[in-house]
């Protein structure tokens, strides 16, 4: 019985008795020791006289599912980590409040205007390869499909980048997307549940390329001093993922939430992003040298108003094309 | 007095009826062909299988009594000992089923082991003992349990003739000391002649009322003659 009490004690409600507490739902890797969470918490608490509490809930999609499950009982004041593929689905829930003020100083590759969702970072999807092994790097989906290079991708039914790839191909090829997928099918070694499995398999040498981000090589350069990873630049352009933060209409901490949203676009927040979240900051804050060596896609593919129905149709098309 | 009143045991197509009174403080042998129901009768008395009718001991019905609550100790043909418990522990179970033995209890266990000729073997595991020794351990336990009725289901069938008679004599001695009522299943007529005061014959779905041993063998019934092959 003692053990049980011990276990119970371990999971007592966390957080302490500070004056005000702002609860922010986010994804797992954001709050890990090596993610942006700890630094951002310290920086915000230094100026707000409050407690910032991160609650991790899997990834972006899991977080949205969680908000729907919790309904009005949610403890979240702010949600950080939805992206542009989930934005319209989230908006339809009608639980988010408009931003107090229009954001200033955003530096995204595309025009951004939204009265509810505020970008805090962004990145391009790309196929990453080992530049010591690959000599002829494909410059488009067509070139990739024609080559006999092997790739590992993620399943759009369980993974955000996986879904991003489906949107990417659709945005680049429209109605011909199924043909592109059919042509790619003999290049695909396998389709994994999430990014970690795919990237792990790529590092083990199971495939020549893996679906990841243009900034992935920067991680290897900065953290491991390893210049052997590169991202392939595609002439069709690259899918742009924009990560978003928003305030809940039902939050009892409206003022504090506004304060946090304003903090998101400050240098204190933005400068932490590159080397912890390995994405581009949403403002023109300085980025590490390695980031400027990354490829700069010809076009940013980011469909406006991607809805639930678009997603279902896209996934169905993908399954059908690859099940041939 | 042990009274079996309109006892009937039905197991599938097998039936056994018994209606008799057995004298206390003596040994009754139960004799009969294999598959006749000798063991089944004992098993029913011990409370392990369903039956109709009733069993009375000293005027009290045993109906509904759990095996351990009955005034009965039973020795099986095999599996009388727990192989993972020591000899002393196996015997000690007869005093306290939770084996929380006091010093006095342990002395009693040792005494019982001496009584059956196994002094000093208390720490052994049953597998280190011979077949005869194992049954002696079971006897020592029955001794300690001090139940007035002992049921022995051919426990010595596997032993050699000399050893078997020796064991029977030991059992009879111990029974006499305790004044217990002993029912002994056997298929060897000489066992009955050796220690039993009366014989119950079991065959053809029927357990016949006890007959004094001498009379039983002097004027054998038709069934007994068939069984003895005479």
């Amino acid at each position: 019985m003692k053990k049980f009490l011990f276990a119970a004690a371990l999971c007592l409600p966390f957080g302490s008795a500070a004056a005000e507490t702002l609860t922010v739902y986010t994804y797992d890797s954001f709050v890990s020791d090596w993610g942006p969470g700890p630094q951002i918490k310290a920086a915000f608490e230094a100026e707000c006289d409050c407690t910032l509490e991160f609650v991790s809930a899997g990834d972006g999609a899991a977080m949205l599912a969680r908000l729907r499950l919790e309904g009005e009982r949610t403890e979240a004041d702010v949600v950080l980590g939805l992206d542009n593929s989930l934005m319209e689905t989230a908006r339809e829930l009608g639980i988010f409040a408009p931003l107090a003020a229009a954001p200033e100083g955003l530096a995204l590759p595309i025009e951004w205007q939204d009265d509810t969702f505020l970008p805090y970072d962004w990145g391009y999807l790309a196929f990453v390869y080992d530049n010591t092994k690959l000599t002829e790097v494909p410059d488009s989906f067509e070139a990739l499909a024609l080559s006999d290079l092997s790739i590992v991708i993620q399943d759009p039914r369980s993974s955000t980048p996986g879904l991003g790839l489906v949107i990417w191909v659709k945005a680049a090829y429209g109605d011909s997307a199924p043909l592109v997928w059919e042509a790619l099918s003999d290049n695909i070694v396998t389709v994994t549940k999430g990014w970690s499995e795919a990237y792990g398999m790529f590092l083990e040498g199971e495939a020549d390329m893996v679906l990841s981000y243009t900034t992935s090589p920067a991680y290897h350069l900065i953290a491991e001093d390893d210049p052997t990873k590169s991202a392939a630049s595609f002439v069709e352009g690259h899918y742009l993922q924009v990560e978003l933060v928003a305030k809940l209409a039902g939050s009892g901490q409206q003022a504090l939430a506004d304060e946090f949203l304003a903090f998101v676009t400050t240098d204190a927040f933005q400068s932490v992003i590159p080397e912890t979240n390995w994405m581009y900051p949403a403002t023109a804050v300085d980025v590490p040298e390695a980031f400027s060596q990354m490829i700069d896609p010809a076009a940013a593919l980011s469909p406006n108003g991607f809805t639930d129905e678009d997603r279902k149709a896209g996934i169905e098309e993908w399954v059908r094309a690859l099940s041939q | 007095m042990l009274a079996l009143e309109n006892l009937e045991i039905v197991q599938g197509s097998f039936r056994l009826a018994a209606d008799m009174q057995l004298k206390p403080n003596q040994t009754t042998a139960i004799l009969g062909p294999s598959g006749g129901g000798k063991s089944t009768l004992l098993t029913a008395l011990a409370g392990f299988i369903e039956h109709s009718g009733d069993i009375h001991w000293q005027g009290e019905s045993l109906r509904g009594l759990a095996p351990a609550k009955r005034p009965i100790s039973m020795l099986f043909q095999e599996h009388n000992l727990f192989p993972h418990l020591s000899v002393a522990q196996n015997v000690g179970l007869g005093l306290r089923p939770d084996l929380k033995l006091s010093g006095e209890d342990q002395a009693k266990v040792e005494a019982a082991l001496s009584r059956v000729g196994l002094a000093g073997k208390g720490a052994e595991l049953p597998r280190r003992l011979s077949g005869g020794q194992r049954q002696r351990v079971a006897l020592a336990r029955a001794l300690l349990r001090q139940k007035p009725i002992w049921l022995l289901d051919e426990p010595f069938a596997a032993l050699g003739p000399g050893l078997r008679l020796e064991m029977l004599e030991l059992v009879e001695e111990m029974r006499a000391e305790q004044g217990a009522t002993l029912l002994l299943v056997t298929h060897a007529p000489e066992d009955a002649k050796h220690i039993a005061a009366a014989v119950v014959f079991v065959g053809a779905g029927q357990a016949y009322a006890p007959v004094p041993t001498t009379a039983f063998f002097a004027k054998p019934s038709k069934e007994l003659r068939a069984y003895l092959g005479k």
């Binding site: 053990k3 276990a7 999971c11 007592l12 409600p13 966390f14 797992d28 890797s29 090596w34 969470g37 609650v55 991790s56 899997g58 999609a61 899991a62 599912a65 969680r66 499950l69 092997s150 039914r157 369980s158 396998t190 389709v191 994994t192 549940k193 970690s196 499995e197 990237y199 398999m201 083990e204 040498g205 199971e206 495939a207 991680y219 953290a223 639930d308 997603r311 169905e316 399954v319 099940s323 | 011990a46 409370g47 369903e50 109709s52 009594l65 759990a66 095996p67 351990a68 009965i72 100790s73 099986f76 599996h79 727990f82 993972h84 418990l85 179970l93 089923p97 049953p126 336990r141 349990r145």
Partner: protein
């Protein structure tokens, strides 16, 4: 009638029913909770290929695992050799690996750039391509062959040594030996092993995706995950969960129909000795043992090698995660043990024991995502699910280990009852004393194996904790996944090694404790 009273402990029935209630809540309540919150939607025809593939891969995985386990278990049962104890323990390891760790370990051997592909390249042959059904089966056999072997091995070890001596004396022909020993053992243990493996593979998901090669290899479990996570289609998730339960029920009914516990009168627990010294069978057994050692051992070695590199990069928080995992594992083991003993007793004394046993097997066919989400819906109105994260994880892990524990413990318990039940009843041995003096020592090997599995399964499980975990509490598997999610593959491999070592250590302690010094 009824002149004979069955001495049943007064507490046995209420305890058993309470345990049954807990299980019923865990199996049914989540599905009902999902249905209660379902707004619209439902299963589309697109799910049929997933159902087909699920059935195909799960059946094949079960049949192949058990078929290969037959010669292996037989060799282990009748040969004494140096390292036999270690090999039997090692067979517990694959089953305990988190799926992603196992996949990477398998790929290091069988992958396109794995050891075998490298060997093939030396003679100019192309790399192995295991992706597709082959890969899924390879992984599932890797996971479950050892489990099947252990389950069959128990059957063979229950054959009294006297029977083998008799066979040696009579110089029985192989066919006669098969009919005498092997057929009853298989009839007793194989349906059970087939069923457990079928159920485990049915809800396998990350492995199927990683090695399946594409959406052709989709399972019902993936459809459930998709419905719960992206679509938020609770109706569809609940319906899929019901489909899984129905398939599980059908499989369980089949296994029950064909499975009859084998009954050998026990010997006196004498140590086993093999009397078969013919050369042919000895060579064959040797070959089987060596092949199995390689099949199971090589991927484990790969995991070990990778993990050792990562030990230098271990993250902070490892120790805390280890303690949390260990506490959850131990609590969950205690719960699982209590539940399984109470339920085993209930099955024994209840007239509807068969139906109860069948129902309990459904736990294996229950999706962890459905349990997690369902419990979340149920708990959320009353308490913060975060605060209950660890107790719930422990309880769910216990419940998921329960059917496997019961499959292992039930035959042992009925053997004890068969051999010593009357003696114990005659002596008035009941309740705790009976457990302590008779049941526990007699079923110790099975108990050790079963609790070892429960502890290690809980240790390596990611399952429901992901839905509930507050950020400052993490288990080892969660820490590992979080590391992998942030490029830190090396540190993740180190954590994986710690995780596998501690799971295996727990399993080994329990299992070894059960087999005692005589193993």
């Amino acid at each position: 009638m009824g002149a004979c009273a069955k001495p049943v402990n007064r507490l046995a029935k209420p305890l058993g029913i309470a345990a049954l209630f807990v299980v019923a809540v865990l199996v049914l309540a989540p599905v009902l909770a999902l249905l209660s919150r379902a707004e619209s939607g439902g299963v589309s025809a697109a799910v049929w290929p997933a159902i087909r593939f699920t059935l195909l891969q799960a059946s094949l995985s079960a049949v192949i695992s058990v078929a290969l386990a037959v010669p292996l278990a037989k060799a282990l049962a009748r040969r004494a050799f140096f390292g036999r104890g270690l090999m039997i323990s090692l067979l517990g390891a694959p089953f305990l690996l988190p799926s992603i760790v196992a996949v990477l370990g398998l790929l290091a051997i069988w992958g396109r750039s794995g050891a075998f592909s490298d060997l093939l390249a030396l003679v100019g042959l192309g790399p192995l391509d295991i992706y597709g059904l082959n890969g899924v089966l390879l992984a599932h056999v890797f996971f479950n062959l050892p489990l099947a072997t252990r389950m069959l091995l128990q059957g063979w070890q229950a054959v009294p040594a006297e029977h083998y001596r008799l066979a040696a004396q009579l110089d029985l022909a192989p066919r006669a030996r098969f009919a005498l020993f092997d057929a009853p053992v298989l009839r007793g243990a194989a349906p059970s092993a087939l069923l457990v493996i079928f159920m485990l593979c049915m809800s396998s998901f990350a492995v199927v995706l990683a090695l399946g090669g594409g959406p052709k290899a989709s399972t019902i479990e993936l459809a459930i995950y998709q419905a719960l996570r992206f679509e938020f289609d609770l109706a569809s998730a609940a319906q899929l969960a019901i489909v899984q339960l129905v398939i599980g029920l059908a499989a369980a009914a089949l296994a029950f129909h064909f499975g009859k516990a084998s009954r050998f009168g026990g010997g006196l627990g004498a140590p086993f000795q093999n009397w078969d010294r013919r050369r042919g069978p000895m060579l064959l057994d040797g070959a089987v043992l060596v092949l199995a050692a390689f099949f199971v051992g090589l991927p484990l070695l790969a995991i070990l090698a990778k993990g050792l590199e990562g030990l230098t990069a271990l993250p902070s928080g490892l120790w805390a995660a280890f303690v949390v995992s260990l506490v959850v594992a131990l609590v969950s083991t205690v719960l699982a043990l209590g539940l399984s003993l109470a339920l085993a007793r209930l099955i024994e004394i209840s007239q509807r024991g068969g139906a109860i046993e069948l129902f309990l097997l459904l736990l294996l066919a229950t999706s962890p995502f459905v349990i997690g989400t369902g419990l979340f819906i149920l708990i959320n109105p009353f308490a913060s699910p975060f605060a209950l994260a660890l107790p719930i994880t422990a309880l769910v892990n216990a419940a998921l280990a329960l059917p496997i524990m019961l499959r292992i413990l039930r035959p042992a318990l009925s053997r004890v009852r068969h051999d010593y039940g009357r003696l114990a009843e005659g002596l008035g041995l009941s309740g705790w004393a009976r457990f302590r003096l008779l049941t526990f020592p007699q079923i110790r090997p099975e108990l050790g194996f079963a609790t070892g599995l429960a502890a290690a399964l809980s240790m390596g499980d990611l399952g429901v904790i992901t839905l509930f975990a507050p950020p400052d509490v993490q288990t080892l598997p969660l820490l590992m996944y979080r590391l992998m999610g942030s490029y830190q593959m090396e540190a993740a491999a180190g954590v994986a090694l710690i995780l596998v070592a501690s799971s295996f250590g727990l399993f080994y302690l329990f299992d070894k404790g059960g087999r005692g010094a005589g193993a």
